[in-house]
Symmetry: C2
Subunit: 480 residues, 2 copies
């Protein structure tokens, strides 16, 4: 399989560093504000990638996504206020109280979006000692220097600075419009340890006085702590490429003489429907939890899956409605499958299914091309409808289709209609299950237990059938 | 109000250290196994306490409950394996992977039990630097010594050792049956920093080599970090009184020359129905999530509320059924209130309500006597039924009762039946709301939208009414 490597700017064969394993790190949220639609997009994309590695390619994936609970500053400058501290002060909270609330809100949204939890979600404040040791190491190795309680990484010592983003020191100097900062040797040096302001709460003793870590060093320390000095994939939103990821590489060179990452992967940006970046000031910004309430988690997840992870996407109600219609199409096809036990197994149908299975995997193997992979599903449905326009399928054909949809769903997690039944344990298809439920409902009705009867009716309706109560007291159902 | 102080072994007037504020710390779980019924009991008890302080007494409560993710060792000896490390090894997980899973399971259970999240839930691994500094302080002040990478608290230096538990050094010596540990000056000294075993994962550099913190020091550091050197309440299960809480006091004397805690509060133990302690080996042990599935979160919470927090409780299906019947009684009373707008306001009823409001608060003010406080609710219902056997209440009387139940429910959080309606916005009582729903349902029925009609029916049933569809197509309802 091939993955686009942001470092080399080309698709490369994916060969894991350790056979059968994929170690990946994705930059997580800064815990000062609830996640927004852009975060969801990035984490759904990497969830799909992780599940594909695991369920289709059989890799054992170890996934680390950090939580920045200190060190990310307003404006991403070296002199701004810590975002967590500032917001907490505004809301009259202890900074870690705000952090706990934001972490809860993050899990609520990401769990709703069906993103599997990473193996470890380390917090920066849980790694202060490791960070201090790393900073000390950088100083000892000549890559960092202290000035008045701040410690800066000396980018002029990092030979390949700019390797990821193209922002070499030459390029940076040419386009520079920098605030003068007398403390820094070079204007492009960046902070790895910051002297605390007198009133700040998030601060620790260090060899350079009371301070707190820089944002970039946190990720260098946490990624290598849990994944080793070399690992397979480092991901994040494209806006993190510079300076965050560039500076991570610089730090890793300073610490270990190498960039630990084989593949740098970036998700595209999520824009409003008119193509402009969403932002709070523009009023077109929406939090994850609001978006989930408004659109539903599954339509949103499916919408994201319909774009390539690396492309920018424009989001709007219309765009989500449009992709949701596609999802409905797959659901309707599945519900239309009427078992016809007597019929023979259709070999031609099975062959089409196999072909399209392969096509799905080929598309996913090509840098996780989810939109093309989804197109292959529609293509299968189209051809299946041509072969069997009556929708009367042999049970073995149905089982094959069910298995195919289940496998795809282990990646997309949007095909709730599959939960109708475990077709493998029920040789007669969905209808037998509905018949069983109808029977149970009739018993409740006879016992005048209408509460339970209604519960079962709702279940049958959810399975895509209509319940018809006849005047003579009998009941029947009809698949919609 | 009075609270039983485990330190002085008597009820004492509660006077907060800072006017209008209650700062409390409760020992949280060790994140190596999912919480069990005993944890739920303790955290529900402190949730009730916290809500009572806040909603009845008007205090601004700041509640910290830690998560022990390193340092708690098997058998609570000074030489056992770290519980998290050991369990993670058994389950082939990174220790912090296990910790993340357990923390998720803890929140799932405690959120289900309607326990408000503490303001901060600090993790031991997030405070290693603070702990190392505290250990160093203890050594400098002559209360701790290092031997071969371990650091021990010298209990002989702590003048009041045994003050909480009665386990003074004299008493301990008299009953001693100790393993000989050549490293310790006194056999009762306990570890505050432990040398790491060669294969351990959770370890940090320290002035005494690579190691990890002792369990007890974590709580001394985290409680004082977030609540200050003196705070109002320190709670936990009674089994933590010795050695954990006794050692916390010793450490705090060593560090600050004082026990920071005004009130030490302990919850009683939760036993199986035969009075024996629940334990995994006895097979009468049940995890929180299993218990919640089995009994339901609300019946479980109400069961806990029916015991005094400090008493031991025996749990069984029968005991939970019995307390749930009491809850149903309150629900039935509430549902029985039929508005009679024409009737006059009943002053006698109002007086009884006021009396019982006061009694409720008096009972709660007496060391949070929840069982007696609950009895006062039943007493009110009994007297109300005597005064108005027809259950036809004036709307203003109903509003008063509704307000009283809502206030109580801000502590117990078990009266789901109150969610039926906001009586304050609906002057004609519950019935008007049901009538409105019946009307909406009929419109859906006329439109043959049975799905939505059934949803509304379920809602009406949940409100305690029975829906009767007459043969002529009309529908009526009857309050149960």
């Amino acid at each position: 399989m091939k993955i686009y490597n942001a470092l080399t700017r080309q698709k490369e064969d994916f060969v894991p560093l350790h056979e059968g394993k994929v170690n990946m790190y994705v930059c997580g949220i800064t815990a000062y504000a609830p996640p927004h639609l852009g975060h969801l997009r990035t984490y759904v994309a990497f969830d799909i990638i992780k599940e594909y590695f695991q369920n289709f390619k059989g890799y054992d994936v170890f996934y680390v996504r950090n939580i920045t609970d200190v060190g990310s500053v307003v404006g991403d400058t070296d002199n701004g206020d810590d975002k967590v501290e500032l917001r907490a002060m505004e809301e009259h909270l202890h900074p870690l109280e705000l952090v706990d609330r934001i972490i809860k809100s993050m899990w609520d949204s990401l769990d709703a979006m069906r993103c599997a939890r990473p193996n470890i979600s380390p917090r920066a404040t849980g790694h202060i000692l490791d960070i201090i040791e790393a900073v000390q190491n950088m100083i000892e190795r000549g890559y960092a220097y202290e000035v008045d309680g701040d410690v800066y990484c000396d980018v002029t010592k990092v030979k390949n600075y700019g390797i990821l983003s193209g922002n070499t020191l030459e390029h940076l100097s040419a386009g520079a419009r920098l605030d003068i900062d007398d403390k820094k040797h070079s204007p492009f040096d960046f902070v790895v340890w910051k002297k605390a302001k007198p009133n700040s709460v998030l601060k620790w003793n260090s060899p350079w006085g009371v301070g707190y870590p820089g944002w970039h060093i946190e990720c260098s320390v946490m990624s290598t702590k849990y994944l080793g000095k070399t690992f397979d994939i480092h991901g994040g939103g494209r806006d993190l490429r510079f300076p965050h990821h560039e500076n991570e590489i610089a730090q890793n060179y300073a610490l270990y003489g190498q960039d630990p990452v084989k593949f740098w992967m970036h998700t595209g940006m999520l824009n409003a429907s008119d193509g402009t970046k969403m932002s709070k000031s523009k009023g077109n910004f929406i939090t994850a939890s609001d978006a989930i309430s408004q659109y539903g988690a599954v339509p949103l997840r499916w919408f994201y899956a319909n774009g390539h992870y690396g492309s920018n996407m424009n989001i709007s109600s219309e765009a989500i409605e449009s992709t949701t219609a596609g999802l409905k199409k797959i659901q309707n096809f599945f519900y239309s499958l009427n078992t016809n036990v007597g019929d023979n197994y259709n070999k031609a149908l099975s062959d089409i299914l196999t072909t399209l299975c392969h096509r799905f995997e080929d598309e996913m193997d090509d840098d996780f091309n989810t939109p093309n992979a989804i197109t292959s599903i529609y293509e299968f449905i189209k051809q299946a409808n041509q072969i069997i326009p009556t929708h009367c399928y042999n049970i073995d054909n149905i089982n094959e289709i069910y298995g195919y949809f289940c496998k795809i769903n282990s990646v997309f997690k949007c095909f709730d209609f599959l939960e109708v039944k475990d077709i493998n344990d029920d040789k007669s298809g969905k209808i037998e299950m509905i018949e069983q439920l109808m029977h149970e409902r009739n018993i409740y009705r006879q016992q005048k237990d209408y509460k339970n009867a209604d519960k079962i009716k709702a279940k049958i309706i959810d399975m895509g059938a209509e319940v018809i109560d006849n005047k003579d007291g009998t009941s029947t159902f009809r698949l919609k």
